[in-house]
Each structure stands twice: as structure tokens, then as C-alpha cells.
């Protein structure tokens, strides 16, 4: 199988990630529940993953890293826990439904939002932002990179502008954590949401967020934390007070292993490999007949995914043919991001997305291009 849906979930993982998840699944122990060898070891595993993430994201207060099931939950915790009736939010026009749907729900609670338009390639000009702020704008939320167009948003500038307007700066790093540098201090990120199962190379079922110290957050889930059990109210203790219920310890531990692998390899090496593969892919796609590539032209201005549309075929037809006849996995459709497709002008038909991995080689890209050439005809 040739797998080009790494923006959906990455495959394969480093072997050590599978080994860690399997080993920890056989260990037992519930972190913070009782004090015994098994529970203490489980607590240590959570601590170690927080340490690895802290190193990757420049976070010093590790207790402000919270584990969730996935980034959608993380974003929900942030939006539902930080905002109050009357608040106004700004988002970009390439946000995922993980952001848009909670905000649509929050409209019922008296919270409003505005969408800052990106150009059709998904690029956001920070100079346009000032116009959209209102006196009650409390939060600026944007993805680090579009999951449809691949465009990278200018986080440094956006963080600065958010601070100038006294706003909380929230970043969705689903497509960039583990590939692009992230530093919560340098980039002035107040709330960083991450997912474990994409470029962080962890398993499915784990994500999380970081929230800057000093910003209050209402939990989304209340219940047992293993600590302060006499207190009938939710303890305001981080991280436990934000992690009610048993965490997915095997997945969190395996995520830690994935992050350690990334730290060993180095982000620069991972990113350069991605750019090299993307250059080959973009060049090859340009030579195919009837293909329109979405997003920025320069490989260095995008993350490792390329979406395109076809003159003669629907994205679904090409995806199905690649799957059935060539054993090549891609993703067609709207990618849970209708705003991004509206921005690109592809809301009616969607697009076909190819997304890359650190473990792919140029020969994988050539195999994909060769299959596409056979399907479409041309000279790739």
C-alpha cells in the first residue's frame, strides 16, 4: 500500500511507537489513582510525555499541558471554557470544522465570530486583520496551516497582533506540530491545540493542549481526578483538574515516544525531507493534463500536502481508481473544512488531497505520479 493520507492520520509510525503502546497496554496502573508501583509508573509515563512535548513546543510550565482524546476535543475545551456571552472571536477563512462547529454552537450562548478572508491560495495577510477587531474581541483562533490548501499562516505576526489587541491567541497545530517549529513564548501562543496521531507520530486517541499560566479555563468535563477526592467541587489544580476520568495512558506514552523520535531526528531534517518530496510531487502534478493544484506554488510556503482538482474527473473518481487499481490511499471530498474550500472556490466539488510522510521516498512519489499519468494521460 502506498499511503498518501498522512494529513488524515499518519502511517506508518516509528516502530518504537507501536512497541511502546503495546508494552504499556500490558502494564496496568491508573495515574493518580492510588499510590502503588503500577499507578506511579503510569503517572511517570504521563510526566515523560509532557516533558517531551514541553521540549518540542518551548513550554516550561509542563503542568499546563493537558491530554485529551484529540485536537477537536482540545479546541472545544478552549472555546467553550475560555469564552463568555458577549465575546467576539476572529478566525481565518481556512479553519477546520473543529473550530467552526463549536463556534456555531456557541452562537446560541451569545458568542459571535467573524471570518478573516484568506486569498484563494489560503494565504492570510496580517495587515488586513486590524479591521476585524471589535472592542469585545477576546480571542483570535487560527490554524497554523490549512489542511486543504497547505498554506502556512504567519503565526509570529498573528501572535503579535493578538497581543496588541489584548486577545487570547489560540492556534490549531493539527497539520504542523512535529514538522514546523513551534514555540509558545516566541510566537506568543496562549492556547496551543495539538493532535497526537498526525505528524507527532503517535497513535490515534490522544491529543492535548497547552494554556498559558494565568489564563482561567472552565473544564469541559467534570469528575474524578484522583486528587483532592474529599472536595465535591472540581479541583483547580493543573493538570489533574483538567483531566477528569482515566487518560489513554498507552497512547499518551506512545505519543511521548513519537515526540522523542522527532526530537532525535530534528525538525529541520524532517521539514527538508517534506519539502523535497513536495517539490517532486508539485512538479509532477504540473505536467499532468487537466490538473489544477490548490494552495501556494512554493513548496517552502506550504506543509506536506497537496490538494488538486481535475478537468475531466471528480476527485472521488480519481481517489477510487487509485485505491482500487493501484493500492494508493488518498482522500477526496471537503476534508471537514468547507470554509477552506469556499476560499479556494472548490466548495461544489471538493478536491483530492495527497499528504506526505517522513517515511516516504521519492520513489513513492514517482509511483503515485505514474499511476496518475496512466489514469489521466500525460508526461509525468
Amino acid at each position: 500500500m502506498l499511503y498518501f493520507d498522512n494529513a488524515g492520520t499518519s502511517w506508518p509510525k516509528p516502530e518504537v511507537v507501536y512497541q511502546t503502546q503495546d508494552r504499556v497496554s500490558r502494564q496496568g496502573g491508573n495515574p493518580g489513582r492510588g499510590v502503588n508501583q503500577a499507578s506511579l509508573q503510569a503517572s511517570r509515563l504521563l510526566f515523560q510525555t509532557r516533558e517531551a512535548l514541553g521540549q518540542l513546543f518551548g513550554i516550561t510550565h509542563l503542568e499546563r499541558i493537558i491530554f485529551t482524546q484529540n485536537i477537536t476535543e482540545s479546541i472545544n475545551v478552549g472555546l467553550q471554557g475560555l469564552l463568555y456571552p458577549g465575546d467576539h472571536i476572529l478566525i481565518s477563512s481556512v479553519e477546520h470544522n473543529a473550530v467552526v462547529r463549536p463556534l456555531e454552537y456557541l452562537k446560541e450562548k451569545g458568542i459571535s465570530y467573524s471570518v478573516i478572508p484568506c486569498n484563494p491560495r489560503g494565504e492570510l495577510d496580517p495587515a488586513t486583520l486590524g479591521f476585524y477587531f471589535r472592542p469585545n474581541t477576546r480571542l483570535l483562533c487560527c490554524t497554523h496551516a490549512s489542511n486543504v490548501l497547505g498554506s502556512i499562516l504567519p503565526l509570529n505576526e498573528l501572535g503579535l497582533i493578538a497581543k496588541q489587541h489584548n486577545c487570547i491567541f489560540m492556534v490549531d497545530t493539527a497539520q504542523t506540530a512535529g514538522v514546523l517549529p513551534l514555540d509558545v513564548e516566541e510566537q506568543q501562543i496562549d492556547f496551543l491545540a495539538f493532535t497526537g496521531h498526525k505528524s507527532l507520530m503517535g497513535p490515534q486517541g490522544v491529543g492535548g493542549f497547552y494554556l498559558k499560566q494565568g489564563i482561567n479555563l472552565r473544564p469541559l468535563i467534570y469528575g474524578g481526578t484522583g486528587v483532592h477526592s474529599l472536595d465535591l467541587r472540581q479541583p483547580a489544580i493543573w493538570p489533574e483538574g483538567m483531566e477528569s476520568g482515566t487518560r489513554n495512558v498507552p497512547a499518551i506514552s506512545a505519543l511521548g515516544t513519537g515526540v522523542e523520535y522527532i526530537l532525535q531526528q530534528g525538525l529541520e531534517k524532517i521539514r527538508q525531507h517534506e519539502i523535497a518530496l513536495m517539490s517532486v510531487l508539485l512538479e509532477g502534478l504540473k505536467n499532468l493534463p487537466g490538473v489544477r493544484i490548490l494552495g501556494p506554488e512554493d513548496p517552502a510556503s506550504r506543509v506536506g500536502l497537496v490538494s488538486c482538482i481535475f478537468e475531466e474527473y471528480t476527485p472521488e473518481e480519481i481517489s477510487f481508481e487509485l485505491d482500487q487499481s493501484y493500492n494508493i490511499i488518498t482522500r477526496a471530498g471537503l476534508h471537514c473544512a468547507p470554509l477552506a474550500h469556499r476560499t479556494a472556490g472548490t466548495i461544489e466539488r471538493g478536491a483530492l488531497r495527497f499528504s506526505l510522510s517522513y517515511f516516504q521516498t521519492e520513489s513513492d512519489i514517482h509511483a503515485l505520479l505514474s499511476a496518475l499519468k496512466t489514469i489521466l494521460g500525460g508526461t509525468a
Binding site: 493518580g32 499510590v35 506511579l40 503517572s43 504521563l46 509542563l62 484522583g226 486528587v227 483532592h228 489544580i237
Partner: protein, 76 residues
């Protein structure tokens, strides 16, 4: 089991106790992670028992890593 007087550092969160464990272990301080009774209700239920004579030095040692126990208790 013989009962002896013990000094226990109480932490607000398991995370803080884990952080303290990491540094105490790396500096080779003698210590034991122990369960605490619910009566010590301002802690996380997990304590770090240390040698009574080390208490002052251990507290200063932990402080350099921004680890401050909620309190220390003497237990028998």
C-alpha cells in the same frame, strides 16, 4: 511493622510529585513515594517521605526547580 516518625512533603498535584521525584532521584536524595490518608486533604494523596534530618536542604533543593510542596507533615 514498626512505627517511626517520618517527614512527608505534600504536593498539590501528582504532576508536582512526579517532578519532585525526578529531581530528587537525579540528585540521589533518599526518599520514598507514599500514599497519604484523606485527612491530609490539601494534597494530591501522594507524598514524598524524606529523612527528617534532610528536610531543610531538600526543600531548598526543590525550590530551585520551582517545586514547592503545599506543606510538610510529621507523621508517626
Amino acid at each position: 511493622m514498626k512505627k517511626v516518625e517520618r517527614v512527608v512533603l505534600v504536593f498539590a498535584s501528582v504532576h508536582s510529585a512526579m517532578k519532585a521525584e525526578k529531581y530528587l532521584k537525579s540528585a540521589q536524595w533518599p526518599f520514598w513515594l507514599i500514599p497519604l490518608p484523606p485527612a491530609i486533604n490539601d494534597g494530591c494523596g501522594l507524598g514524598i517521605q524524606i529523612v527528617p534530618a534532610d528536610q531543610h536542604e531538600v526543600e531548598i533543593f526543590l525550590k530551585q526547580f520551582e517545586i514547592v510542596p503545599v506543606k510538610s507533615v510529621t507523621m508517626k
